[in-house]
């Protein structure tokens, strides 16, 4: 069963202790919103949970695949949006049919054939979230998913997150702005 637990997690970045003794347990259908000022370690926390960064103490217990939407979109610039997303979807063991609904969910269906390098900041952000949706992973890690999004896209993001939780997924998001969805708050 999908589950995510952080046990006494500590993070050390360049001699500086960002946080310690952090505990959190998320069951299927639950989400948490990490809040706090800049530089407090929100992105580092998400990278630790994703397994990209080793914690200075404590451990992450993760049951289920993770999908991370970080600042970098990780989409090949010269490819069309749909081809760039399909590369990751195939890597995640999904077939190409998962890409179109993910694009539609973030309002990108009309941009499917546009090369990634021509997308605007907000469109890239939405494409990054579409990559997470298409991954089919039960645990979503979203780093500032709402930055640069317009009102309509914020609604689409909230809709996608709500749908994921309703389907028994887990979300751990870090954001400065409200995401339009009720999540447990974790202040760093």
């Amino acid at each position: 069963m999908t589950a995510l637990a952080l046990e006494r997690l500590a993070c050390l970045r360049g001699q500086r202790l960002l946080f310690e003794d952090l505990n959190l347990t998320l069951a299927p259908g639950e989400g948490a919103l990490v809040t706090g000022p800049n530089g407090v370690g929100k992105s580092s926390l998400l990278r630790i949970v994703a397994g990209l960064l080793a914690p200075a103490g404590g451990r992450v217990v993760r049951d289920g695949a993770v999908a991370l939407a970080a600042e970098a979109a990780a989409l090949d610039e010269e490819k069309s949006l749909v081809a760039a997303l399909a590369f990751w979807a195939r890597l995640d063991g999904q077939d190409d049919e998962t890409v179109a609904p993910a694009l539609a969910a973030m309002g990108l269906a009309r941009l499917a054939q546009v090369p990634v390098r021509l997308l605007s900041t907000g469109q890239r952000r939405r494409a990054t979230i579409a990559r997470v949706i298409a991954s089919g992973a039960p645990i979503w890690l979203l780093d500032e998913p709402a930055s640069g999004l317009d009102t309509a896209s914020l609604d689409q993001l909230a809709g996608a997150m709500g749908g994921h939780l309703a389907a028994g997924g887990i979300i751990l998001a870090a954001s400065h702005q409200p995401l339009g969805i009720d999540l447990r708050e974790l202040a760093l």
Binding site: L52, E71, A72, A73, A74, E78, R90
Partner: protein, 211 residues
């Protein structure tokens, strides 16, 4: 298809689409063209030094794609995405090595058909050179990948790449250009050592770059 094969296919397609293949090739042929101009139209002399000249040209051409091997994928977050899907850094590095050789070695051997004619190589020297390149270019590609991963986090890596990579490539140059009886075996041994070691060096560099 396994994830690593997908990564190989992606990197090869990107290399051909973005000029990563053609730039070293054109450079290699340019150097091969420059030497007859510099040395003069002495066919016998050109045929004698031709093998060494082309190995030097191959070595210099191998420097060109290095800066674009690893750095863009770190910047775009692609390496992060691969690693959080459970691929090891060494696996990613090995896939990148295979892709890099495929888009560097065989095209270089094809260009040698023209370059060898420019330098008036006789058929024996020509075959020796092609076999040498077949054995040696995997080592060159491995060296390029390791240096690319090691220098990916540095700001001005362009000049450093040459300084780090060229001295390490000297054994490949010596055994590749030599006509001695055991040169090819020593070239193979050197190349194998680089190919075996590069994924671990590059993998460790990728991992260290994340923390």
């Amino acid at each position: 298809m396994s994830p690593l094969l997908r990564l190989v296919a992606r990197d090869v397609v990107r290399a051909f689409a973005q000029g990563g293949v053609w730039l070293p090739l054109v450079f290699y042929l340019l150097v091969a063209t420059l030497f007859p101009f510099a040395i003069g139209p002495d066919a016998a002399l050109l045929g004698k030094v031709g093998g060494g000249v082309l190995w030097t040209a191959a070595l210099l051409a191998a420097l060109l794609p290095v800066e674009r091997l690893v750095r863009p994928d770190i910047a775009s977050g692609a390496i992060d995405q691969l690693v959080l899907r459970g691929l090891s850094d060494e696996g990613v590095a090995a896939a990148k090595l295979v892709a890099h050789w495929l888009s560097f070695g065989p095209p270089l051997m094809a260009a040698t058909l023209a370059a060898g004619a420019l330098l008036n190589l006789d058929s024996a020297a020509f075959i020796r050179l092609e076999v040498g390149l077949l054995v040696g270019t995997p080592g060159l590609a491995a060296l390029g990948l390791a240096v690319a991963a090691l220098t990916a986090s540095l700001r001005a890596s362009g000049a450093l790449i040459g300084l780090v990579m060229l001295p390490l490539a000297v054994p490949l140059l010596i055994f590749g250009a030599s006509a001695g009886p055991n040169a090819l075996k020593l070239l193979g041994a050197t190349s194998l050592l680089f190919v075996a070691g590069a994924p671990f060096v590059a993998g460790a560099a990728l991992r260290a770059g994340r923390s």
